[in-house]
Symmetry: C2
Subunit: 239 residues, 2 copies
């Protein structure tokens, strides 16, 4: 009996579908660092008298490392969330079957936090008790605040972040591919990257519902600060 | 009258306090990339015949740039979430005052998704209507799934991530400070960083409730892949 109930609960548990908001968020994560760190690294090294060849090598190596670290890191984080959700789902289900009165009391407590009186919430609690599938969904969402993750999300997320990082990272490095004197290449890189940062910042603001112009300026500002810091550190070490 | 209600709602809106879980998450974010990318960059450049001096310069510049990009980026993201929350709070409050019947219908819809019948949820809906503050809290949490962010969280988050990145990034670079021949320094860096990655991975698993040993191996694996990619790209460009 309990086995049937378990199987039924797990099979019918509602799936949450993700919107394109997740993809946009991953692109923002990848491009934000991708446009900033390789740019700053290259600009910093140009101040330390490195050649365009060395700078390009360092830049490309950093883009490869960064894309993998962020991509695989994002994948593991998403998988970890999925495993966490599965464990919590199993535990809630066990509690609903083993200690239903305790779980019912938790529902009552959740509703009473909103000033709802016992005689007002008791019909709701009883309705949930008669519908274990809905009860489980309710506990997952309202007690634990967890949504069922899409199993394919982890892989999609990893690739989106990694590719975004690579696309972002290549932009500042392009001048170093064509201008062998680093101190000249860096000027082109600064112009190219600042423009890219402002366009990206504007788009980011537009998609996240924040003021696009302010977002453009903030994003360019981070790039400027990061490259100034990299420049300063490189000069301090190499003179 | 509406003004008094508004002021009262906004002043009394419950605050959500964050647990140390936020700090642990930020440390994990910073150290994960900090231990991986500078390590991989340095290892990659050592394969391209760069000196320890150049590698140290590139590594330190990258750590500075990465800490700022992630720190400031994290700060802006947290502020953006806080602004989003404020806008949504204002909008829900306006709707509660202007179109209460529509909002009441939304509460009914939320509860009916869990199989609760109208005669069962109507007392709850009415209870909320009599208590605008609780009603607002309910809509924010159960319709929009938003929690009130701590205003100081953005700054704390930025510093935690940035400092974690720096601490993580310095570890792989230490050998290059003392061993001038890069091809020798890299061996020490690999050993030191692999140990650090495994210790960090183990701790990460422990704190996030995942198998610590598996987490240790996964974390070290990412470091290995990232450095192999960086090494490969650097060799391809410099030979």
């Amino acid at each position: 009996m309990a086995g049937e109930l378990e199987k039924s609960l797990l099979n019918q548990h509602k799936e949450k579908h993700f919107t394109s908001g997740e993809i946009v968020r991953d692109i923002i994560i990848g491009v934000s660092d991708g446009l900033t760190v390789p740019f700053a690294l290259a600009a910093g090294l140009s101040g330390a008298n490195a050649s365009s060849a060395i700078i390009l090598t360092a830049g490309v190596a950093e883009v490869a490392a960064g894309a993998i670290s962020m991509g695989l890191g994002g994948y593991l984080a998403a998988k970890s969330e999925a495993d966490h959700y599965k464990r919590e789902l199993q535990r809630e289900q066990d509690e609903i079957i083993a200690v239903p009165d305790t779980e019912a009391a938790e529902v009552a407590e959740i509703l009473s936090e909103y000033g709802v009186q016992p005689h007002e919430y008791t019909p709701v609690v009883n309705a949930l008790r008669k519908n274990p599938q809905a009860w489980l969904d309710f506990m997952m969402k309202f007690e634990l605040g967890l949504e069922k993750p899409d199993p394919k999300r982890a892989v999609k997320s990893a690739f989106t972040i990694a590719i975004s990082y690579i696309v972002g990272g290549v932009v500042p490095l392009i001048p170093y591919m064509f201008i062998p004197i680093a101190k000249k290449a860096v000027l082109a890189s600064v112009v190219l990257t600042l423009i890219a940062l402002m366009i990206f910042g504007y788009a980011k603001g537009y998609f996240t519902g924040n003021k696009p112009v302010r977002s453009a300026l903030e994003t360019a500002f981070i790039g400027a600060i990061a490259s100034a810091a990299a420049f300063g550190m490189a000069k301090a070490l190499q003179g």
